[in-house]
């Protein structure tokens, strides 16, 4: 399972999974955009580069999702493909190539607009060979 949505009355709560932190972050991005739009309708025509740094993986995950929302809002773009590489030597660094396109009203139909990524119950759970990595997120919509 890439991600699953949990019940939340006023907002949106999901868990994204992955066999690595990279895959977990990718699936979290997919989960987030799937709240707003049918990802199938997004053509990966353009590329945006994202570079981020944070003290820990949880902080990095928050920055990652917040940065994507910023790009959505500032560039009026939607994304469907996320190529992520991570490194850490004390601090965590993320380099990503994000593919998508500018919003096209004729093809893109929107559902709930996400206002922000909250830190409420925000949690990264490290995985082992048995269980994958998990990121839990509550979005303000």
């Amino acid at each position: 399972m890439r991600y699953e949505f949990l019940e939340h009355t006023a907002d949106v709560k999901f868990r994204a999974y992955g066999s690595s932190p990279e895959e977990m972050l990718k699936n979290a991005a997919l989960a987030m955009f799937s709240v707003m739009i049918d990802i199938e309708t997004v053509r990966p025509e353009s590329v945006w580069e994202v570079e981020l740094e944070a003290e820990d993986l949880e902080g990095l995950a928050y920055r990652w999702l917040s940065e994507l929302l910023f790009l959505f809002s500032a560039e009026l773009a939607v994304f469907s493909d996320f190529d992520i590489s991570l490194s850490h030597d004390g601090a965590w660094r993320l380099n990503a190539r994000v593919r998508g396109e500018h919003i096209d009203r004729k093809r893109h139909s929107f559902e709930t607009e996400i206002k922000a990524v909250t830190l409420h119950q925000f949690e990264v759970r490290p995985g082992d060979s048995e269980r994958p990595w998990m990121l839990q997120v509550v979005l303000d919509v």
């Binding site: 709930t112 206002k115 990524v117 830190l119």
Partner: protein, 478 residues
């Protein structure tokens, strides 16, 4: 509700969550709610009331209004005040949509004059006032104009020709929260805020043409300029991407501050900093800038609304009844143990409710109290209430802000179809325009608590008094 056995009933409509409920609670919780509304409150909401009670410097109680429901950080409907000395300020008590709020314009038109034209009128409002996901404004402000709006709020808009000085007198804080610091607004927040300045947004934001269906208090209604059958316009929106980004940016800073100042938190969204520290000061300055952006935004939208009405009805007067914030932290003076104290009052999905004794009440409403504007869900009545002094004793001068969701958006979309919701409203004579049908399903009237029940509790407790009920004629949604 599971967990309500933890609550002690203090008197009718007042429940207390004792200090022992959760480790670290510094004060008890107080939930102002009826028994039947309490049934609908999720257990997580009670946890959130308890979480807020653990914050340093909290005064008296961690409170929740009758429209309380599950939020993030504070519950929605949450109110808490913190003392200047030893207290904290937290974006968890304000939210991302800083100064999301409501304003009400009155007209001298009657329902019979407007009803025949409602369909065209709503279509024009929908066209003239940008709304929906990714909507951009027809206003093109420069970076320095944006800075001025961050500082001056609705006054900036009035100085640009959007409205009148009387409008400012009828805004909470006169449409400008003092202490805004634009240097604490990031380039990202500016980039998001500039094209969205003068847009309604999406989700539960709306512009509604309505009429006064019922008057509960003739004298106060007269003071507020309201009469039965009168057409009014309600605008519900906030600080758009500017506010969302400001909160996101400062949440990260305050998360680090929590470690720096050794504050133990039960929820990361309650990140905060002690009042007086640079982190707290910077957040407050940025939050005030976002609040001012929201007031200017509602001022601009009100002006465009007046322009549309003028096209249909000629020289029609549309004074502002009032404009209230329902997501904000403010410095207010309140009596604590018989002493007047400066407190940082956080209202998250709650409205200020100041009665006749407060100097903040506009001069022409003095002796009566401030108006409170309580929107219903789409298609259901909204209310005008009047602030009461009893609220100063019970809730730091606060009351409810709306009706509160009871069904999640995903469940709503499984249960309702946008087209059906539109058709059913149409049958009731309510014209609805929306950019996306999904929004109509998510905002179907049935997904909210009945707003009249929430208002009844507020009225019965004496937090605010019922003045008028407005019935929707048409809605423009995001």
């Amino acid at each position: 509700m599971r967990g309500d056995h933890m609550l002690d009933k203090i008197e009718e409509n007042i429940y207390e969550l004792p200090i022992g409920y959760k480790e670290g609670m510094r004060v008890p919780g107080r939930i102002f709610i009826s028994e039947s509304l309490l049934e609908m409150v999720e257990p997580g909401t009670i946890e959130q009331v308890a979480n807020v009670a653990t914050l340093p410097g909290i005064v008296k109680y961690s409170m929740a209004m009758p429209d309380a429901h599950l939020g993030y950080g504070f519950p929605i409907g949450g109110v808490a005040a913190f003392r200047e000395d030893g207290g904290v300020i937290s974006p968890g008590g304000v939210g991302f949509d800083i100064n999301c709020g409501v304003r009400l314009l009155r007209t001298d038109l009657t329902v019979d004059e407007v009803k025949p034209l409602i369909s065209d009128l709503i279509e024009s409002l929908f066209e003239e006032i940008p709304s929906g996901v990714g909507a951009t404004s027809r206003l093109h402000v420069s970076d320095s104009e944006l800075t001025e709006a961050f500082i001056a709020g609705a006054r900036w808009a009035v100085e640009q020709g959007y409205g009148t000085d009387e409008d400012l007198e009828h805004c909470e804080e006169n449409g400008c929260l003092k202490g805004a610091d634009p240097s604490q607004v990031s380039a990202k927040a500016r980039k998001r805020g500039r094209p969205q300045f003068g847009t309604l947004g999406s989700g539960n934001h709306f512009l509604e043409v309505q009429y006064v269906g019922r008057i509960y208090d003739e004298d106060i209604a007269k003071r507020f300029g309201l009469f039965k059958g009168q057409v009014t316009v309600m605008i519900h929106c906030g600080s758009r991407g500017a506010g969302h980004q400001i909160c996101t940016d400062h949440l990260e800073v305050l998360s680090r501050a929590v470690r720096k100042y050794n504050i133990d938190l039960p929820d990361k969204q309650l990140a905060c900093a002690p009042i007086g520290t640079p982190e707290a000061r910077n957040y407050f300055g940025a939050m005030a800038a976002a609040a001012n952006y929201a007031w200017a935004n509602r001022q601009i939208i009100a002006h465009w609304t007046r322009e549309v009405f003028a096209k249909y009805f000629g020289d029609v007067e549309m004074p502002l009844v009032y404009d209230v914030a329902h997501n904000v932290a403010k410095i207010e003076e309140h009596m604590v143990d018989n002493r007047l104290e400066r407190l940082y009052v956080h209202r998250k999905g709650a409205t200020r409710s100041f009665g006749p004794s407060r100097k903040e009440v506009p001069s022409d409403y003095r002796g009566v109290g401030q108006p409170l504007l309580i929107p219903g869900s789409m298609g259901t009545p909204s209310y005008v209430l009047c602030g009461q002094d009893r609220a100063l004793e019970l809730t730091f001068g606060s009351a409810c802000h709306g009706s509160g969701r009871i069904m999640s958006r995903s469940q709503a979309k499984k249960t309702y179809r946008g087209a059906d919701v539109r058709a059913s409203l149409q049958r009731e004579g309510i014209k609805v325009m929306a950019t996306e049908p999904a929004v109509l399903a998510e905002e179907a009237p049935e997904v909210y608590k009945p707003s009249h029940e929430v208002v009844e509790v507020v009225h019965a407790l004496g937090l605010a008094k019922k003045v008028a009920q407005m019935i929707p004629l048409g809605v423009s949604k995001g």
